[in-house]
Symmetry: C2
Subunit: 263 residues, 2 copies
Amino acid sequence: MTIQPLRCVLLSLTLIFSGQAIAEIQTQVINYKDGDNQLQGYFSWDDSIEGKRPGVLVVHEWWGLNDYARKRTRMLAELGYVAFAVDMYGKDQVTKHPEQASAWMSKITENVDNWQQRANLGLQKLKAHKLVDTDKTAAIGYCFGGATVLQLAYSGADVDGVVSFHGSLPAATEAQYSNINAKILAAHGNADPFTPAEQVTAFSNSLEAAGADWQLLSFGGVKHSFTNEGSASYGLDALVYDADADRRSWQAMQNFFAEIFSD
Amino acid sequence: MTIQPLRCVLLSLTLIFSGQAIAEIQTQVINYKDGDNQLQGYFSWDDSIEGKRPGVLVVHEWWGLNDYARKRTRMLAELGYVAFAVDMYGKDQVTKHPEQASAWMSKITENVDNWQQRANLGLQKLKAHKLVDTDKTAAIGYCFGGATVLQLAYSGADVDGVVSFHGSLPAATEAQYSNINAKILAAHGNADPFTPAEQVTAFSNSLEAAGADWQLLSFGGVKHSFTNEGSASYGLDALVYDADADRRSWQAMQNFFAEIFSD
């Protein structure tokens, strides 16, 4: 009679905590190629979760695939997804200098087909991961990466949704309208000097004309790169971390994922 | 030995469900006055919850305090809040005719001081409810009610936040800038003919100039009154229910409340 209550408590605790094993975040660097270009991506997932799960592509800022992109990839793993940081520039092409970043960014964005192809290559790598449920995928991106996930949607890629964080919000072209199947969420700083109001209007008007499922979440007084705690280290007035907008946009992304992965 | 396991299971179930008593949604109609104007508001709360909790003011559409506003009030009670639907027009002033709605709306909005005062009177009634934690209050509103909760914020009312659903998004005047303490979330249909892009820009610019904490969530392809399942019954092309935007904006409101009521 004195042992039973203890067993009972243990059973109760087991019932309550059985679904909450301690996370075991794994990471893996992979090398792959786009034609002659050597690329190096970065996977993360939680080994304490069993079975297949949705996959999320992560596209880096114009600085290249740096620690910030890797951090977001691990944060997605902590949320229960398999995440893959695609390399849009090339192995070790990471900088803190705007001129270099701009040059690398221009090199890949000047040809939209190549730009979309390299993003789609990352999506293929993600879907090839043995733990990814290939029917449930999304892509998120920051700054240049935000524009990239929009191009992924405009290319007709088979993803359920894309999320742009302080992206440059390229408008879709008329030829792309019928390609867009993915749902779109754009988190935008209303005071972002890199993405002025006219650009937001052109973006919105194009998606309206396309009949896309799109949402724009604008944050008042918020500048570029608001999700990156290291923004100040780049010495540009346009880049300002904003804790509220960071937390709110990450929450909005989670709600968006809950919706698009619910089927 | 055969009885103990059963007791054990019962204890486990008690542990798991003890915080989840069945909701007992209560409602109460109250009569009150603004000067000589007889008003009739509507409270709702959940009696299965003990103690004080945040309070949420609900402001009706231009049709008056109708079943739709009462439904949202009960939905807030189901979320655990005390909710109060303020009467902005007068007892029994409810219509389905746009001309009548427009006349009643103009009567209260033509004098901003009176408009704000009547909304603030509702806030006082909410705060006077014995179950409201007066340090945690918010206001939500639909259509005309969205504009009203913004005016409440512009009046300097002591609320933590306001949420406008398909509101007309009045800009704050310069004289109001320094009053604004409440956080602001506006859920907007990008294809709402009642609130065109120029109005959204004027609204955004004023809040930016005021340095307010504001967010705008725009839904692509979505028209006016997107949260109201009965929109089609009014026979106006501008009013279209949108299940996605309804669900997403209600979720955004809940996240907003979680933030502003977290302290």
